[in-house]
Symmetry: C2
Subunit: 420 residues, 2 copies
């Protein structure tokens, strides 16, 4: 592979990260925690530098005409930077996920077997605009003894560069080698693609962003991927659903933060319930400004709703739009979720325990809710302390991923000459 000046040597960065990961893996919990505090303090001290760099990104964003939501994710402030720092201090408080003996036993021949948690090694983080990921992911990686290679979105390049520069300065005062945090400054697509196949040097890729970014990584990477989630979440309102619970949960899941992955996208409503509770449902939908895209039966009950098409069932709205599917039993609801769900978060509202059990057993998703809002699928809300993402895959880690998702195990055998 020839490397020109325009193409930064991504491979040499990954190799440096791998080497630094070894040093990092030998540090004590205290040494890692101390480093996280120094990172936090140094970020706070360098707020001005980071905000100046952020202004460059914001200016470019304004010129490109990015929408308000996008600009909001991009924008930093003194308060946000202090929040990043506090986040690092929170991570320092969490239990070290490495060095835990998950199980141990002694064979009849005296061989001691220990299954011990160890860092994965090098984490490749591929993400979009949010500069907070630069700090959050670094904190979680370092706490779990992993080096990290960061590849942020080009629209936050100046902000991310400044943040990493500050973190590198801070690391000088710690036992963690600066090389444990690598930032790919190239905005070249090729730089990202190089990460996809660097199995020798990178142990796992974590994409954070929209569906197209995640699919690009999943479909092209030979490095193992922790797939984080697109959430096409459903709420099934059963014929035996309590009206107040159903409406509260619907409103909360749909309107609390419509743009997040655990927000509600489709309500599946039992026809019997709909017939009985049409008026209060319609009133609630209007009150909260929820626009309905329904099937024909739904349309006949809900005024101002439009006919749903295949797209409506399959995609996330991430807005106050809501697809409404009517069914005549729980099995039809389960079939609809099987066809269109993304295995993220699915909820049922019913007072019938047997119906709830059928739903919870047969729906294939990382998080199932009986009489509660899908919004709880979140490391913070569930008490994990910190979250690297929400996995929608089944292998390794499923659902909200805390620090343990960034570890693997070693079987450590100690003997006195045992042979087989």
């Amino acid at each position: 592979m020839s490397v020109t000046k325009e193409q930064p040597n991504v491979e040499s960065q990954a190799i440096a990260a791998k080497k630094a990961a070894k040093t990092l893996s030998l540090l004590s919990t205290e040494e890692k925690n101390e480093a996280l505090h120094i990172l936090a303090d140094t970020l706070e001290k360098n707020t001005e530098v980071i905000l100046e760099a952020n202004e460059v990104d914001l200016q470019a964003g304004r010129e490109k005409g990015y929408d308000t939501a996008y600009m909001d994710r991009l924008a930093l402030s003194k308060e946000r930077i202090f929040d990043f720092a506090d986040g690092l201090r929170q991570v320092a408080k969490l239990e070290d996920p490495t060095g835990n003996i998950l199980s141990n036993w002694t064979l009849d021949n005296g061989l001691l077997v220990e299954k011990v948690t160890v860092p994965l090694g090098v984490i490749g983080m591929i993400y979009e605009a949010r500069p907070n990921v630069t700090v959050d992911a670094t904190g979680l990686a370092l706490k779990s003894g992993n080096a990290i290679v960061l590849k942020g979105g080009s629209s936050a390049l100046s902000s991310n560069k400044a943040i990493v520069q500050v973190m590198h300065e801070a690391l000088k005062e710690t036992k963690i080698p600066q090389e444990a945090v690598q930032f790919i400054a190239s905005t070249d697509r090729e730089a990202t693609q190089q990460l996809f196949t660097m199995k020798e040097h990178i142990d796992v890729l974590i994409p954070r962003g929209g569906g197209s970014l995640i699919n690009a990584v999943v479909n092209n990477a030979t490095v193992p991927v922790l797939e984080t989630g697109v959430g096409n979440c459903h709420l099934y309102i059963d014929v035996e659903a309590d009206v107040e619970k159903a409406l509260n949960i619907l409103v909360n899941a749909k309107t609390d933060r419509p743009a997040v992955c655990n927000a509600l996208e489709t309500a599946i409503i039992h026809e019997g319930w709909l017939e009985k509770n049409r008026d209060v449902l319609v009133k609630t939908l209007q009150e909260y400004g929820i626009s309905v895209h329904g099937d024909e039966t739904a349309l006949s009950y809900i005024p101002n709703s439009v006919l749903a098409n295949e797209e409506d069932w399959a995609n996330e709205y991430l807005s106050l739009d809501l697809a409404v599917k009517t069914v005549s039993n729980v099995e039809e609801a389960i079939d609809h979720i099987e066809a269109y769900g993304t295995k993220h978060s699915e909820a049922i509202v019913t007072e019938n325990k047997a119906t709830a059990k059928t739903f919870m057993s047969l729906v294939d998703a990382s998080a199932l809710y009986h009489n509660a809002s899908t919004r709880f699928t979140d490391g913070g809300a569930l008490g994990f302390g910190a979250e690297i993402g929400i996995s929608t895959q089944k292998l390794h880690a499923r659902g909200p991923m805390g620090l343990p998702a960034l570890t693997t195990v070693k079987f450590m055998m100690s003997g006195n000459g045992q042979t087989r």
Copy 2:
């Protein structure tokens, strides 16, 4: 996709498996165990039919001039079939890996959170000649509540077909739908490749076989893969190694079963130890018929050895050949393993605890041994009861994989209307 008569409809088989997996996931442990016993009894009763079908494969193998080792893996006997049946009865005795509540807690708002183990769903098993995999993998899949799609090697087609037919007959007498066990009878490459991308219907692919099969699956599949292992295993004999332990372990790891993945391929020997123990080492190597491919220093000590090249360091011999690398400290040994190891099983012999600790901490592999043979990396030897393979990857499962590797988790939340 158009389907002709020549191309069996692999997709429809996978869809049928997915459907059957739902029924299977609702069965009790007792119902699954009973089914395993019925499968075992029926296999024993149908020994003749299976042996006749096996003879077709053996005849074809003889005509193609397969080597003895290959023919041995292919050949069945009454005893072997009874062993398969006993294997199923052993699996019935193992703890059900599903339905375990790994952790549970209640949020301040009263929401009960349970993290529960559940089947993966549908397992795609892609394997080479050994017909025992057809039975073993089916038993492990069914016990863990998973449907299975079997794609065996073409040289065992007749045997596998007969075994699956017998198992299908047996399943009629059980609560498990026949469709939970699918066998891809096509020997077409395309049939295998269809499995690679069937993310909608297959939850995980497990390749069992040589390096080229495993690489083909890992590099081309978009379905998640449980990578099972090529083992280029090393034994580091430190300057402070006990002579008897070192030689016993070397002989055991190299000669007990040279063709398996946990067999020794390269001995890394400290020059100081080599100088002191040359005579007894040479005598031992000769006694056990071990052929040495060494670096220049090794050659100067060990008569009849040949110079090792890059291939010798990188590949598995799976024979009585042994690569010998000399080093002057543990760090050089670790670097050599880092460069050439396959992250399977690595051992150190030393009486120095600090040296052992350095080795065990810094070598990146699924199983590390201090003063014991690499041959213990095996589900049976470690007491797992049964093994679906030895994972050399870091995500999901690492090292010998028992039944829990065939499960994932669901977060099950029960509330009374909680919103966020």
